[in-house]
C-alpha cells in the first residue's frame, strides 16, 4: 500500500497541469464566493474571474519553452498546449468582459456563469494538453457539459433552451462515436495514449490496413470534427450559435473550437501520423466541403449571429486547410489562425453584444442599418473585424489566411488553396452585406438600444488592437506559433 501511494505520487507533476489547476481552484473559490454574494450582483464575480484568468495566463506563460509531462503520460504541457491554452484564456477573458452587462440586460445575473466559463476553459486546456485519449475525452466532456449549460443558460428563453438541448443531444451523440472510436483504437493498439498509438503504428505499419484501426481512427475524428464544426458535423453550429447567449456563442466559436483543433491535431499529427496520406485526402474533402457549405449558406442569412455561425463553419474549413498541409507551416498556421480568429470573431460578437437590445431581436441585417453613422466608432470597429474575417490586409485575418494557404501551397495543395481563396471571395459578399447595411443604408429606426458600455468596450478594443497589430506586425506571434507547432 505504501509503495502504491509512492507510485501514485511519483506520477504527479503539478507543473504539467498548473494552468488548469489554478483555473479550477479559482473556479471553485469563485463558486464559494458566489454563494455568499448578494443575488443579482455579479460584477465582482466577473472581475474575480478576469483576475483568475490573468493569473492563469501568467502561469501558463511560465510554461512556455518548458515542456512538462506528468500523470503517467496523461498530459504534456508543451508549447503547443501553452499556445492553445492562451487562446482559450484570451477567449474566456473576452467572453467574461462582454458578459456582465449583457447578462444583466438579458435578466440573468447569475454568478455561476463565470465559474462555468472557467471550468470550460480548464476543460479546453486539458484537451490541448492531454496526451491520453482519456484526458482528452474528459477535457472534452468538461468543456461540453459546461457549454451545454451555458448554451441553455437563459432557462426561460425557449431559444436558449433549444440551443442547449440541440447541443446536448448532438454532442452526446457524437460522444458515442468518439468513444466507440477510442474503444476500437484501444482494441488494436492496447493503449489510449496518443504516443502509444503512434508507437504502435510505427512498429506495426500494417495496422494501417487493419479496418478496426482505421474505423476506430475515423470515428475518433468524428468526435473532434463535431466540435470544430466541420461539415457534415456542423449541423448543430448555426442553431446553437444563434440560440445561445451571445458571449457564449463568441466563446464557443473561439475557445472550444481551438481546443478541439488542438486535440484533433495532437491525435492526428502525433497519434495517427502513419495514416497521413489517407487523412490528408479526407481533410482535403472535408475542408472544401466545410468552407463551401459555411460560406454558401451564410450568403442567405439575415440573422447576424446565425450568419457568423456559418462564417465560423467556413473558417473551420480554412483552418482544416492547414491540417491538410500537414507540414510545419500549415500546423503552426493553425495556431496563428485560431488566435487571430479569436480576436476577430470575438470582436465582432462583442459589437453585437453592444448593439443588441433585450432579447436580441434586432441583431439582423436590417437591424444594423445606418449603424456606421449613428455609432461611427462602433461601425469602424465592426468593419475592421469584418475585413479581418474576409481576410483583407492589413488586418490579421489576412496574415492568418496567408499563413494557412502558404502551408497548403508549400505542401503542394495548390488547388485547395485556389478553392480556398475562391471561397473567401464568396464570403466577401455576406460580410460586405453587413457593411452595406451599416454604411450604405439609412437607419430604419432610431437606435434606442440599452446602451451598455464598460467592460465590453475593453473586449472590443483588445480585439481590435489584436486584429490590427497581428495584421501589421504578425512577426512575433508567427514566430511563437512556429515554435509551438509540432
Amino acid at each position: 500500500m505504501e509503495n502504491l501511494v509512492q507510485e501514485a505520487i511519483q506520477n504527479v507533476n503539478l507543473q504539467a497541469i498548473m494552468p488548469s489547476l489554478v483555473l479550477c481552484v479559482f473556479g471553485m473559490a469563485i463558486l464559494m464566493v458566489s454563494v455568499f454574494s448578494k443575488r443579482g450582483s455579479t460584477t465582482h464575480i466577473a472581475w474575480l474571474s478576469i483576475a483568475a484568468l490573468v493569473v492563469t495566463g501568467f502561469v501558463t506563460l511560465i510554461g512556455w519553452n518548458n515542456p512538462q509531462a506528468g500523470f503517467a503520460g496523461s498530459v504534456l504541457l508543451d508549447n503547443f498546449a501553452t499556445f492553445f491554452s492562451m487562446i482559450c484564456i484570451i477567449a474566456a477573458g473576452l467572453t467574461i468582459l462582454m458578459s456582465d452587462d449583457y447578462l444583466r440586460r438579458e435578466g440573468y445575473p447569475v454568478s455561476e456563469y463565470y465559474p462555468l466559463i472557467l471550468f470550460t476553459t480548464a476543460g479546453a486546456m486539458w484537451m490541448a494538453s492531454g496526451t491520453d485519449l482519456m484526458t482528452i475525452f474528459l477535457g472534452l466532456e468538461v468543456l461540453s457539459v459546461s457549454l451545454y449549460v451555458l448554451a441553455g443558460f437563459f432557462r426561460n428563453q425557449t431559444r436558449s433552451n433549444e440551443a442547449g438541448l440541440k447541443y446536448f443531444f448532438l454532442g452526446a451523440f457524437s460522444t458515442g462515436f468518439l468513444l466507440y472510436g477510442v474503444a476500437l483504437l484501444y482494441g488494436v493498439t492496447g493503449t489510449t495514449k496518443v504516443d502509444g498509438i503512434a508507437a504502435y503504428l510505427m512498429a506495426n505499419p500494417e495496422a494501417a490496413m487493419n479496418t478496426m484501426f482505421i474505423a476506430g481512427g475515423s470515428l475518433l475524428l468524428v468526435g473532434f470534427l463535431f466540435k470544430v464544426a466541420a461539415a457534415p458535423f456542423h449541423m448543430w453550429t448555426p442553431d446553437v450559435y444563434q440560440g445561445a447567449p451571445t458571449p457564449i456563442t463568441a466563446f464557443m466559436s473561439a475557445g472550444p473550437k481551438a481546443a478541439a483543433f488542438a486535440a484533433l491535431m495532437r491525435v492526428t499529427i502525433i497519434g495517427l501520423d502513419g495514416l497521413q496520406s489517407e487523412l490528408t485526402s479526407l481533410f482535403w474533402i472535408l475542408a472544401v466541403l466545410t468552407m463551401t457549405i459555411g460560406n454558401f449558406i451564410a450568403l442567405t442569412q439575415k440573422d447576424l449571429k446565425r450568419m457568423l455561425a456559418y462564417s465560423s463553419i467556413s473558417h473551420a474549413g480554412y483552418v482544416m486547410v492547414g491540417l491538410v498541409a500537414w507540414n510545419e507551416i500549415g500546423l503552426s498556421a493553425i495556431l496563428f489562425y485560431m488566435l487571430v480568429y479569436t480576436f476577430m470573431n470575438m470582436g465582432a460578437f462583442a459589437v453585437l453584444v453592444l448593439i443588441g437590445k433585450k432579447g436580441e431581436d434586432n441583431l439582423t441585417l436590417d437591424g444594423v442599418a445606418g449603424l456606421g453613422y449613428k455609432k461611427p466608432i462602433l461601425g469602424i470597429v465592426l468593419s475592421i473585424f469584418l475585413f479581418s474575417l474576409m481576410g483583407l490586409p492589413p488586418t490579421a485575418g489576412f496574415t492568418a489566411k496567408f499563413y494557412i494557404f502558404a502551408g497548403a501551397i508549400e505542401a503542394g495543395y495548390i488547388w485547395l488553396a485556389v478553392l480556398g481563396v475562391l471561397n473567401s471571395a464568396v464570403s466577401l459578399y455576406y460580410y460586405l452585406r453587413v457593411m452595406v447595411q451599416m454604411y450604405f443604408k439609412d437607419p430604419e429606426e432610431d437606435f434606442a438600444w440599452v446602451s451598455i458600455n464598460g467592460p465590453v468596450t475593453i473586449s472590443i478594443v483588445v480585439s481590435a488592437v489584436g486584429v490590427l497589430y497581428l495584421g501589421i506586425f504578425p512577426h512575433t506571434l508567427m514566430s511563437l506559433a512556429k515554435l509551438a507547432g509540432f
Binding site: 451523440f173 457524437s174 474505423a215 470515428l219 468524428v222 457534415p232 458535423f233 449541423m235 457549405i293 460560406n295
Partner: protein, 653 residues
C-alpha cells in the same frame, strides 16, 4: 540663315493665344482683327523674306531643329522645320492668302458676338497649316495635319447653336480621322520598314535619302503610300472621303475660302508632293491616285451641276479641282499639281470670298427687311452685278480662270495637268478624258453660278431687293488682290510650248526631279499633240460656258425642262449620288447598331449576365443548402450518421 523660320508659325500662334485668352476682355473688333491680321501679315513678311532668300540660295533644302520632342531609344524625334522650294511656295500661299482672308474676315464677321473666338481659331488654323507645310518630319507635319483638322472642326462648328453646323463639324473631323488612320498606318509601316533597314527616322529629308532602301514597286512601299494616300483622301476630300467638304460649308464663308478651298484641303496634295520620292517608287499607288483623282474630278463636277446653294457649288468645284491635283500627282506631274494648288488657291479663295460678299450683302438685305430667306440659295439671286460691281468683276475673273480660258491662271496649271495625264509615262488617255470632261462641266456649272447670281432678273424678295450694298473695303480689297492673282498667277508657270520658261517648274525641280528621274516619270509626246489637246480642252470649256449661257441667260426655262426630262439622273446628281446615304447605310448605322448590340447584348446580357449568373448560382446553391438546416434534431443526427458512414467507408473501402 533661316533661323527665323520658326517665327512664321509662331506669329499666328501667339495671335491665337492672345485672342483666345483675352479676346473676350478686349471686345474691340478693330483691335482683335488687327492683332490677328497684323500677326498674320508679319508671318507673311517673314515667309516672303525666307522665300526670296531661298530663291537666291543655291542650297535649296534647309532644316531647322527647334527642340527635341520625343526621344525613346532609337526613336529620336525633333521639333524641326524644313524649308525647301515646295514648302516655300506653300508658306507664301498660306500666309498670303491667309492674310487676305483675315483682312476679309474683319469685315465679314463684323458684329458677330464671338468675334474674338473666330480670329483665335483662324490664327490657330494658320499656325497649324504652317506647321503642316513647314514640318521637317512626318510627325510635326502630322501635328499640323491634325491641327488643321481641329481648326476646321472648330470653324465649321463656329455657329455651334445650329445643329447642322455642329454635325458638319463632327463629320468633317471624323472623316478626316479616317484619313488620319491611313496616315498613321502609313507612318508606322514606313517607320518600321525603314527601321528594319537600320534607319530610324521620320525626317523627310532622311526618308527621301533612304527611300531607295525599300524595294521599288514592292508591296511594302505600295502599302505605305496607299496608307498615306488614304490620309490624303480624307484631308483633301477625295473619293471615298469627300462627303465632309460640302457639309463643311456650314462654317463662315472666310473659313470656306481659307480652309476648304485654299489651304487645308490641299494638304493631301502637298503631302504627296512632300513624299514624292516614296510615291514615285510605287506605280500601283500612283495609278490609284490618278484614277481616284480623275474620278473625283469628274463626279464632283457632276454633282456641282445640280446644286443650288452657292457655296455648295463652290465646294463641289473644290472637290473636283482637288481631284485634278491628285490626278496630277498620280501621273507624276508633281510640280503641275502644286502649280494648280497655288492657282486654285487664288481663284477659289477669290470665288469663295466673292460668294461670301454676295451672301453678306444679301444677308444684310434680308436682315434689313426682317426676312428669313436663305441668303445662299442661288435661286433667290440674280442681277446682283449692278449692286456689287467689284465683287462681280473679281468673281468673273476667277470664274474664267477656273474654267481654263487661256491666259488666265487656271489655264496654265490645268492644261499642264491634262497634258501630263495624257502624255506621262504614268498617264493614260482615259485619265485625260475624265479630266477634260470634268473641265467642261466645271466651265458649265461655274458659269451657271455666275449667270444665276449676277445676271438676269433680280429674284430676291422685293422688300430686300434694294438694300443690297457693296461690301466694305476690308472685303473688297482681298477680293481685288485675289482676283488680280487669279488673273496673272499663272504666268510664273507658262509652259515652254507657249513660249514661257515655266519658272515654277524649275523652282520646284530640286524637290521633284530626283524622284521623277529615278523612276522614269516624264511626259512625252509631240508638240502637235500638246497643242491639239490644249485646243480641245479650251474648246470644251467654251462649249461649257456657252451651254450655261444658253440655259441660264437665254432660255431660263430650259433647265426646268431638262430636269423634267432627266428626272432620275437629276435626282441622283442633286442628291450627290446618294453617297451620304450610302455611308449612313454601310458605316454609320451598322456602327450604331453594333454599338447598341455590344452594349445591351454583349455587355449587359452576356458578360454581366455571366458575372451576375455566377453570383446567382452561388446564392441559389446557398439557399438550397440552407434547407438542409431544417432545425429538426433527427435530421441533424441523420446527416451526422451519413457523414460517419461516409468517412468510415472512405477509409475502410
Amino acid at each position: 540663315m533661316y533661323s527665323n523660320l520658326w517665327l512664321i508659325p509662331f506669329f499666328p500662334l501667339i495671335g491665337s493665344i492672345i485672342n483666345g485668352l483675352f479676346g473676350k476682355k478686349i471686345k474691340n473688333e478693330a483691335v482683335i482683327g488687327g492683332i490677328a491680321t497684323g500677326l498674320m501679315f508679319l508671318s507673311f513678311l517673314v515667309a516672303a523674306q525666307n522665300f526670296f532668300k531661298l530663291l537666291g540660295d543655291k542650297e535649296k533644302v534647309h532644316e531647322l531643329v527647334i527642340a527635341s520632342w520625343m526621344s525613346v531609344g532609337n526613336f529620336q524625334l525633333n521639333w524641326e522645320l524644313l524649308l525647301d522650294p515646295l514648302s516655300a511656295v506653300m508658306i507664301m500661299v498660306v500666309t498670303g492668302v491667309g492674310t487676305l482672308i483675315h483682312l476679309y474676315s474683319i469685315g465679314y464677321m463684323h458684329g458677330d458676338e464671338s468675334f474674338y473666338r473666330f480670329f483665335s481659331y483662324l490664327n490657330l488654323f494658320a499656325f497649324a497649316m504652317l506647321m503642316l507645310v513647314l514640318g521637317g518630319n512626318a510627325l510635326v507635319m502630322f501635328i499640323g495635319w491634325e491641327g488643321v483638322g481641329l481648326c476646321s472642326y472648330l470653324l465649321i462648328g463656329y455657329y455651334y447653336e445650329k445643329k447642322s453646323a455642329s454635325t458638319a463639324a463632327n463629320k468633317a473631323f471624323i472623316v478626316n480621322r479616317v484619313g488620319d488612320f491611313g496616315f498613321l498606318c502609313g507612318l508606322f509601316v514606313l517607320f518600321w520598314a525603314l527601321a528594319e533597314k537600320g534607319v530610324w527616322t521620320l525626317n523627310f529629308v532622311e526618308i527621301a535619302e533612304s527611300g531607295h532602301l525599300l524595294e521599288s514597286g514592292g508591296l511594302l512601299i505600295t502599302v505605305v503610300t496607299l496608307c498615306f494616300f488614304l490620309g490624303a483622301t480624307g484631308k483633301s476630300a477625295q473619293i471615298p472621303l469627300f462627303t465632309w467638304l460640302p457639309d463643311a460649308m456650314e462654317g463662315p464663308t472666310p473659313v470656306s475660302a481659307l480652309i476648304h478651298a485654299a489651304t487645308m484641303v490641299t494638304a493631301g496634295v502637298y503631302m504627296i508632293g512632300r513624299m514624292n520620292g516614296l510615291f514615285a517608287m510605287a506605280p500601283a499607288t500612283m495609278m490609284t491616285i490618278a484614277i481616284v483623282g480623275g474620278l473625283t474630278a469628274f463626279f464632283a463636277a457632276t454633282i456641282g451641276l445640280a446644286q443650288n446653294d452657292i457655296k455648295r457649288v463652290l465646294a463641289y468645284s473644290t472637290v473636283s479641282q482637288l481631284g485634278y491635283m491628285f490626278l496630277a500627282m498620280g501621273v507624276g506631274a508633281f510640280s503641275a499639281g502644286i502649280f494648280h494648288l497655288m492657282t486654285h488657291a487664288f481663284f477659289k479663295a477669290c470665288l469663295f470670298l466673292g460668294s461670301g460678299s454676295v451672301i453678306h450683302g444679301l444677308h444684310h438685305a434680308y436682315h434689313h427687311a426682317h426676312l428669313h430667306d436663305d441668303p445662299q440659295d442661288m435661286r433667290n439671286m440674280g442681277g446682283i452685278r449692278k449692286k456689287m460691281p467689284i465683287t462681280f468683276i473679281t468673281f468673273l475673273v476667277s470664274t474664267i480662270a477656273i474654267s481654263g480660258i487661256p491666259f488666265f491662271s487656271g489655264f496654265f496649271s490645268k492644261d499642264e495637268i491634262l497634258w501630263w495625264s495624257f502624255g506621262s509615262t504614268r498617264g493614260h488617255c482615259l485619265l485625260w478624258v475624265l479630266g477634260a470632261a470634268a473641265a467642261g462641266m466645271t466651265a458649265f456649272y461655274m458659269f451657271r453660278l455666275v449667270f444665276m447670281t449676277f445676271f438676269g432678273e433680280q429674284k430676291t424678295d422685293a422688300r430686300a431687293k434694294d438694300h443690297i450694298p457693296e461690301s466694305p473695303f476690308t472685303i473688297t480689297i482681298p477680293l481685288m488682290v485675289l482676283g488680280f492673282l487669279a488673273l496673272i498667277g499663272g504666268y510664273i508657270g507658262v509652259p515652254k510650248i507657249l513660249g514661257g520658261a515655266n519658272r515654277f517648274h524649275a523652282f520646284l525641280a530640286p524637290v521633284f526631279e530626283h524622284a521623277q528621274h529615278a523612276n522614269e516619270i516624264h511626259a512625252h509626246g509631240s508638240h502637235a499633240t500638246e497643242y491639239t489637246l490644249m485646243a480641245i480642252s479650251v474648246a470644251i470649256a467654251i462649249i461649257g460656258i456657252f451651254t450655261a449661257w444658253v440655259m441660264y441667260v437665254k432660255n431660263p426655262e430650259l433647265p426646268g425642262k431638262f430636269v423634267a426630262r432627266f428626272a432620275g439622273a437629276h435626282r441622283v446628281i442633286f442628291n450627290k449620288w446618294y453617297i451620304d446615304e450610302l455611308y449612313d447605310f454601310v458605316f454609320v448605322n451598322p456602327c450604331k447598331k453594333i454599338g447598341t448590340f455590344l452594349w445591351r447584348g454583349v455587355d449587359v446580357k452576356i458578360v454581366d449576365g455571366v458575372v451576375n449568373g455566377c453570383a446567382w448560382v452561388v446564392k441559389g446553391i446557398g439557399s438550397g443548402l440552407r434547407y438542409t438546416q431544417s432545425g429538426y434534431l433527427y435530421n441533424y443526427a441523420m446527416i451526422m450518421v451519413v457523414g460517419v458512414v461516409l468517412i468510415v467507408g472512405f477509409f475502410v473501402f
